[in-house]
């Protein structure tokens, strides 16, 4: 395991928590809109879309520790490689939180930029979802 203070390297994978309603039985299983920044509310993605470094977690499921226990079954997990972010000219920036190590954000996918230019987010959302769909770690167990 890596410490979250360790530099993020190109060979790492990132974990994204995805709500059950962004999964379907169709192909691709993960909606591109699983990668849409929240614009409003307490958890607005003002600094960027939220993910976790798999290398900093005991297991991918540890990422769900940020979710209230009674809601964890509503969540799935997907993983995307850092190399995909680089291909999309995106970056990952460490943004430590209390509950789970390895929290990062994609600063280019932030709420303000999304609100100003939704069309500019279509391609990265689509590509992230395509790769995430091939790398589903955990499907939600209830809906």
């Amino acid at each position: 395991m890596k410490a979250e203070t360790d530099p993020i390297t190109e060979d790492e994978w990132l974990i994204r928590i995805v709500h059950f309603d962004k999964f379907t039985g169709r192909v691709p299983p993960v909606s591109p809109n699983a990668f849409e920044p929240r614009v409003k509310g307490e958890h607005a993605d003002t600094t960027g879309l939220s993910l976790f470094r798999e290398a900093c977690l005991r297991t991918p499921e540890q990422a769900l520790d940020v979710i209230a226990p009674d809601k964890r079954t509503l969540k799935g997990l997907v993983r995307v490689p850092m190399t995909l972010l680089l291909d999309l000219r995106l970056t990952a920036r460490t943004e430590p939180i209390e509950l789970v190590p390895g929290h990062v954000v994609i600063p280019e996918l932030n709420s303000a930029d999304y609100a100003a230019n939704k069309a500019g987010f279509v391609t990265p959302k689509l590509r992230l979802a395509e790769v995430a769909s091939e790398n589903v770690v955990l499907r939600p167990s209830s809906s």
Binding site: N33, E36, R38, K118, A119, G120, V122, T123
Partner: protein, 138 residues
Amino acid sequence: MSATVSGLGATAFTRLDAYPTRALDSSSLTAVDHSVPLLPTWGKLIDSVLDIHNLRDGEGSEAPSPGAVDGALLLAMALRDRQERPADRVVPSVNGTVYFEWHLPDAYREIEVTGPNRAEVRVVHKGSDAVETFVIGL
């Protein structure tokens, strides 16, 4: 707001926005495949829109607004009646809107219903980063 679909697109030409605007019925949004039964699938999508009305993330996301749900129902019924290819899925966004998604062999298309009278269409073709976008009135 009318519950019928007869007025769909009628206001599109009067709506000015940052995007070019065209009426929903000015051109087909999706390819029509008459070889498969369409209505049952649109029926399921309409059921899904109704289910969205009761969804709430519980993790800080904004629930879809009643207006967006109403607009999504109008749109789904209109596309069903026009026998458009059913969307591959309908999903609530984290920002109070409702998305219809088509994952087509040659393109990805999404319609984001933002209110009872308005939706934004975005299309990106395979192999291209260019996104076609326009607004439709419902």
